[in-house]
Symmetry: C2
Subunit: 204 residues, 2 copies
């Protein structure tokens, strides 16, 4: 170890931030090692390849978030309100304030290619069924396909909020302030819960 934190951790931290800011393809190993103040070869020593570095960066953040999600779902009991389900999905991410992790999560959710998708799918599969069940418990009249669609919509809303939160104030002339996580959570829960409760009208 060099300073206070190990080389491995410093790489993970800087990689997380840069991946979130500039994307996976847009961030080179040299960008990462330069900012982390470590040798270029350290990445390959600790993580073998860039791909498995990406994997490690994502894994480190998603795993605890999903654990917390399942905890909140558990705490909501067998007959949750849809608000509780939505909160269980959102809060574990949103409560991280504006940490670099937030941009990373947005990036992951917005990168439907290659193996980023594989990594994401691995972690999603672990909780998707639980959330589908929870929505079913909260809104039993909702058709199974519609449940999945609306979970998909919720994921999109969250992904977008995460991805754009750092430019949103400028985009809206300061009207929208994503740094107030409490208010943001309340807005999202209100909006999404109403969406989940919407009458299901098949196309005509």
């Amino acid at each position: 170890m060099n300073d206070r934190v190990s080389t491995k951790t410093r790489i993970l931290d800087v990689a997380e931030r840069l991946f979130g800011e500039k994307g996976f393809d847009g961030t080179s190993l040299r960008d990462i090692t330069a900012e982390a103040g470590v040798n270029l070869a350290a990445v390959n020593y600790h993580f073998q390849t860039k791909d498995s570095l990406i994997d490690a960066v994502i894994e480190r953040r998603i795993a605890p978030v999903n654990r917390r999600r399942l905890e909140m779902l558990e705490a909501a009991g067998p007959n949750p309100a849809i608000e509780q389900v939505v909160e269980a999905f959102l809060v574990p991410v949103l409560e991280c304030s504006l940490s670099p992790m937030v941009a990373l999560m947005g990036r992951v959710l917005a990168t439907p290619d290659q193996f980023v998708y594989r990594v994401f799918k691995k972690h999603l599969a672990a909780i998707a069924q639980r959330f589908a069940d929870a929505v079913g418990a909260a809104l039993p009249e909702l058709a199974p396909a519609e449940r999945l669609w609306r979970l998909h919509f919720m994921g999109g809303t969250m992904a977008h909020v995460l991805s754009w939160s750092h430019v949103l104030p400028e985009m809206t002339g300061g009207l929208c302030d994503p740094s107030d996580r409490k208010a943001l959570t309340a807005r999202l829960v209100s909006f999404l819960s109403a969406g989940f409760r919407a009458p299901f009208t098949e196309a005509h």
Copy 2:
């Protein structure tokens, strides 16, 4: 011109598809020219740089979509229902079925960096105010900031649907089929309109 379509158009078509599939950084000019069957230098001849090629690719699709959006907004009159506003936002994109443009749009909306953001902002600024006004007309009790937030949420939902539509069937075991645009539109309008109508509860 070589075949039926000009070199310039072939570059734009292939670039649009590859940018949508693999991202802007993940697509090289060599990828594009190889698939398009044109010479590498043709890109620089017709578009000067890769950046302005990206610009041209986006411009070609977003401009007509936004024109159509404003038409639909216009057609809804001065007192639209929120459903009409949502439709005016969604339909011009969704009616393009599963063309490569759809993945491109998703990619643009999910790339909040560098100059992709600038390009996007240019086209967004041209219609954002109109949609904010339309939401205000449909739901006058909604606070201005909340209007913008919910428009932002709607953009995220659409972006996610566009980005992931090509893997969604596999992700959901075939339960969700994004190719039925009519049904998809109905689902989105129902979900999002309900979200817009949700009571606005400030954080407590």
